[in-house]
Amino acid sequence: MDNHMEKHALIRLKERALKVRGHILGMAARGGCFVGSALSCTDLVVFLYSRFLNIAKDNLNDPGRDYLFLSKGHAVPVLYGTFAELGFIHPGRLKNHLSTDDSVYWHPNRDIPGIEFHSGSLGHMLAVASGVALECKMKKQDNRIVVIVGDGELNEGSVWEALLIASAYRLDNLVIVVDRNRLQANAGTEDLIPLEPLIPKLQAFGMSVKSIDGHDFQDMEDVFSNIPFEADRPGVVIAHTIRGKGLPEIEDRVDKWFCKYSDEEAGRLIKALKSSNERLLEAI
């Protein structure tokens, strides 16, 4: 591959993802959170902030920065954890999870540096991100705007409405990442309202579509380094993921969307995470 990642870079990403997963479990032990969803896109979020997006602690208000919108807002612990690692927020803030004294709750809000907009109601962020993308085009700036949508979220009609518009306005500065874990809140996506064949659907709406393994950093590097995939077309990256990734006992389990753990359980799970990560690192 053209963009073969150095071993050290790969190790750094894996270590950062491990720390973020640890933070997510910490929040699951402080009142619970949407663990399955957050773990599903942890590798993606860590990759995007570490290797792709021009977003850093010192440019969070710079109009030239890139943008990331988490449309599947309930996965927000992954952002809190990532932002703690990147220094956007003090890691101590994570201990305030669900406290009325802070704003570290179950959906994103702009009291947290790094959160561009509140989300939680599904099917909103693609339109909001399209507005940002359109404005960047009007200013002839080359910011990139990434939206992470859940696959279950694709049930919402507003997503498809916004795709039509993004395509009409040729927003090739927009990248839609579909966290394709094939599970929605209570059911498999294909058992409820089947999305497949998804690629041709998105292509028919004017998108330029690529698929990746959403837990393989090299795969992400190869695909994201080719954005925009095509001039004048918004890009879609379908990231095949596993809900609950990293915790074998909840991986791909339809009943493990929201999880609440005791301190002991969380401690045990973090230990399990670490040992599986050691095996991963050894394999590099």
């Binding site: 907009f117 909103h124 339109a127 507005g131 507003s158 039509l164 518009i165």
Partner: protein, 307 residues
Amino acid sequence: MNYEELLKEIVLSDERFVVMTAENRSAIRNIPECLGERFIDVGIAEQSMIGIAAGLALRGRIPVVHALSAFLTMRAFEFIRTDIGIAGLPIKLVGAFPGFLSEANGPTHQAIEDIALMRGIPSMNVFCPSDEEDMLIGLETILKSPRPSYIRFNDLESSVKHDNVFHTGRAEILSEGEDITILTYGTLFREANRAMRLLEAEGKSVGLINLRTLKPIDEETIINAAMQTSLLVTVEDHFLAGGLFSILGEMFLRHNVTCRVLPFGLDERWFRPAMLQDILECEGLTGEKIADKILKESEKYAEYIKV
């Protein structure tokens, strides 16, 4: 000058403004050619228009969005409430053909709960001009306000010369009276004005107040009217629930004010689709019919006091 001309002037004077529509160009036909990229038509997609407007506003723009009132305030309600309301973004919502102005379109197009919906959103201002002149007097202030705002579009020909000083939250007092005060806004202003003249010809002392903004609302003027006159009358082309009548009820409870109120509006039903003048006749909302009913009510009250 009309709405489109004034809008164009304001928008051209400030780069931050963008004009949007969900494929409703009735009031802005000549805007696209002079705004270039700052005109955005998203097609028939009200909710996405609001989301996109929020994105534009996050980057410092002030979107002025256009759609039919019914579809803007209801189809896109959750987007307005969530993307504009929670963030308090300075987006301007222009709702066309509200209330009786949907004429013969039928109940699908009747925005007669729009004020109830929009005023329920924290930080949202609600501007309900009584005619085109009134709308133009307030337009610049509303567009330049840092708050999200709903404009209940009304380009009816003016029946009076309006006070050209506009303040958000301040009513226009056309006359003051001791017997009756008519409170109104929007399309029915002309009929309310006519009712006032007819009642005056009957020897009544009648006040007429054009509220202009329903949120914030001019509490001082309304409470003064409640204290100084025997009968308050509300006249609106909106459901009684959530409109001016409701606002008065809430206000009077909060301020411990009691007074007689005779409401004209729509109580739990849609109106008969027809052309405006026929709707007014059918609904009993011409100046003559309003005046008649007020007279009867005030006589009933006079009897009641005697007893």
